[in-house]
Amino acid sequence: MEGFREKTCVLSNEGIKRALYRLAHQILERTPSTEELVLLGIQTRGVFLAKRLQRIIEEIEGVNLPLGILDITLYRDDLTTIDYSPVVKETKINFDINDKVVVLVDDVLFTGRTIRAALDEIIDFGRPKRVELLVLIDRGHRELPIRADFVGKNIPTSQTEIVEVRLKEIDNKEEVVILEAIN
């Protein structure tokens, strides 16, 4: 990212892997009845994380949870104030979410605005029994009353820093780094 440099690496390849295994166990601990569970990944990196969780849960429990893709662009609260129309990506939920326990998956939890948008969108697909939030990184600075149920790692940051989750599926790297502005 231009104008920024890497400050620290907060999670390594191994760290991400361990966190995801723990998170998968936590999901199952809270909802042992897997037939109720569905995963929804938020575009873009949330989708890859959700796919990995799906694989890990299959490894542990032998069940393949339904996995949906959510693009929240059309529900953003800043659509008409930003300079350009953001690209609308694919949304795909091929299963009924009514009365299901939806685990919403994203890479970083920051202001909470993305999650607000995601919750509004989910309701347009039906009425789940419960929605739970899973994030790999919680970096604080919430602007809305939203909190995650499952957190890979809490990382204190300053407002001006950027947390970048890099996944091998699209970034050819596997790490979480904090970027700081170059003055």
């Binding site: 693009d71 662009t73 059309l74 529900y75 659509l79 008409t80 104030t81 930003i82 300079d83 350009y84 129309s85 953001p86 690209v87 609308v88 990506k89 694919e90 949304t91 795909k92 509004d120 969108e121 309701i123 347009d124 697909f125 039906g126």
Partner: protein, 314 residues
Amino acid sequence: MGGWHRKHIIALKDLSRKEIETIFETARNFKEIAQREVKKTPALRGRTVINLFFESSTRTRISFELAAKRLSADVLNFSPSTSSLSKGESVIDTIKNLESYHPDIFVIRLGLSAFLDTLKRYTQASIINAGDGKNEHPTQALLDMFTTHQIKGTLENLKVLIVGDILHSRVARSNIFGFQKFSSSVRVCGPHTLIPYEFEKMGVKVFYDLSEAIKDVDVVIMLRIQRERQKEVFFPSIREYVEKFSLNPQRLKKAKDNCLIMHPGPINWDVEISSSLKKRLHPVILQQVENGLAIRMAILYLIGTQKKSDEDIN
């Protein structure tokens, strides 16, 4: 990142290939909304879209209306039969008047050719062309191209044939501009009187014999014979037209296998197309209608979510 900066969609001639691809990508991802329990998203909440149709239209208007509603915009439909236009109010006066409602987007259909560039000086809102005279009908061409891409898997290096009343057809013109941007070649075919001289200058091959024109084509776009525009006589009789230019199974054999046939509707069966091709055409036409909605949603979204203050040069 998806820098959409165009304020108006007036002509396909003006759009870049990149812009067309952005519209397609957006449209592709809008199709899913029709499958939801709540078929609506809040993207254009609080925006006002005025459908201003100085010429009659059902299909295009309802497609635009539903597209705007699926994005939560407020829609106003205005057509001359119910307006003061019959009392002699001019098109410009009408726009100026409606401007007091502070609309964000005008979707306009107009009998006058190429007048929309002038009209945009009289409004702060964006203008989307829903067909202007003999000039262009960009959303129809975009949905034809989008459907072609879906079925053929590409828009490049195709042989596209447009048959019928080329003279009165804004659909033909928009499709020619559009397909040419993807290096596809376009041919037109129809009676001498319905193919204006200028088309040769657009890099289009002109044919006056359908059996000849259809050889090896990948896509055929049939145009409707617009009887309402046939006040002047452009060909001797419908029977003669059918004999020479109607698409039937024999003629179709000369096209490539799996040649895609499209029609903007409504079809005069056994005039433009033999009714024995109904079964083959029907699914494509439904797909065109569905794609039309997605394309119009995409355009409304891209234009409607721009920052209002943008003093755009387009």
